[in-house]
Amino acid sequence: MKFHIPNALVVSHKKIGDKIYSLIFNAPEIANSASPGQFVHIRCSNGLDPLLRRPISINDVDKEKGLVSIWYQVVGKGTEFLSKVKVGECLDVIGALGRGFDSNIDGKNVLLIGGGMGIAPLIYLGSVISKKNTVRGIFGGRNKDVIPCILSESNFDYELCTEDGSIGREGLVTDLLEDQLHKEKIDAIYSCGPKPMLTAMQRISSREEIPLQVSLEAVMACGVGACLGCAFKGYRDGEEAWLKVCKDGPVFWDSEVKW
């Protein structure tokens, strides 16, 4: 079930990095129906420019209080407008949208590999699946500026790395991943981040024959499968097809993606 909440009250809005913000809004329907990997579709301005909503992953929910948290980075007009919203004002939000991660698992040894803002949905995923599984996060980015500073609040173990070593280990998430693969048997990898990182994940996971789920991005209009605009080339029932990130994903199995 998808909900349109035209007046979701903003209860918290904080800067948590260089151009990175954490925003929490009240939307009980979305909080209650969401699952990790799903996203919300946010109207960033009341005007007609920018016209379209912007998709942002759900970073966490508080079902009891009816709250939804997102992390976002200012990269253009929409997110710039969003960053101006004040606590006490309202947001126009649709959610929870899309197909999330397969979180219905038990007793598995799972790695969450996130890059930059791709860490956001993995926090939510980790907090849900860590109840019944062994979960470890490997999160990275170019430098410490792109790593949200409130990460420490997560309720599962994780390691950080940056390319310049400004926070965590110096190196790429793939380096840490390889290390981890030497140490223990991994049952599944869930990943979200820039395309090159995902491609690297795919290479490693297929070599190791570990099931992989990745969260993809595409420019979106409707966010609900109406416009067929967010297409990317993948496979459905073994045949090449234009999958829709907003509806068939944003989370896909390795095998669904044409790498």
């Binding site: 079930m1 998808k2 909900f3 349109h4 035209p6 109207r43 007609l48 420019d49 920018p50 016209l51 379209l52 909503r53 126009d92 649709i94 595409a218 420019v219 979106m220 209009a221 409707c222 966010g223 609900v224 499968g225 109406a226 416009c227 067929l228 605009g229 967010c230 297409a231 990317f232 080339k233 097809a241 234009w242």
Partner: protein, 306 residues
Amino acid sequence: MKEVKLSVDVAGIQMKNPVMTASGTFGFGEVYEDFFSNELLGAMVVKGVTLKARKGNSAPRLVETPAGLINSIGLENPGVKVVLQELLPSLKKYDVPVIVNISGNVVEEYGELAGLLSSSSVVKGLEVNISCPNVKEGGMAFGSSPEMAAKVIREVKKSTNLPVIAKLSPNVTNVVEIALAVEEAGADAISLINTLLGMVIDIKRKKPVLGNIMGGLSGPAVRPVAVRMVWQVAQRVKVPVIGMGGISTAEDALQFIMAGATAVAIGTGQFVNPCCCVDVIKGLEDFCRKNGIKNINDLRGVAWNE
């Protein structure tokens, strides 16, 4: 004030209000069910259907522009057979007319599609897309000359008893000429506008943004062009006109109605506000009530008066 009469008759298609979905922005009626009941709509116009399944154009297919959206979907659809067997039957449950938008590569395909779709009891009308800017063969080319446009409409009329709506392209020198040609050829109504051909260049990559290079511009940016074309056409044809292009509020819809449209359709506006159609319907009713208008049909073309 008592009830406001919002119902309209578009070429025999009875609509409880003048608001329909624009083809290609509503899937096959399933996508917005979580947000509002389809039952509330004046009519449902479903995604463009072709004879064979089409995979659509390569990605990226969308780019936002100032107050607008360019799409180059390329008529992705599962083909008329699957549409008839799997998608349309589920729409039977709504007491709302279903209009199917059709596209052919060649003139004959339009006739074939019309024939096939006429067999369905769900379908209450055909919208003939001779204005798609996103396909190589046919598409907009059919809507660019009065002769070709008329030919397609005649072919469709031969193959169906359903009301036939010609959907015109705004990318023409003289839209009235095309409108008169399709009316003469038997079109029972006219839809306008389809999208304006446009493109955006990604200056970082030094390439067009869209995989298909060009696409169709829709949304508020094109509204002034759409209102102008409805104004021009509605004064010259006898058949009803369905106005669309950039509608996102009741005020926008009223511009089209006052310019002469019998009904309106909403596309891009739905992407921004998933409840756009129902908000517009409510807004039309409010406007009529506040202004003492008993029947929405009384507003049609009022702006023509000196």
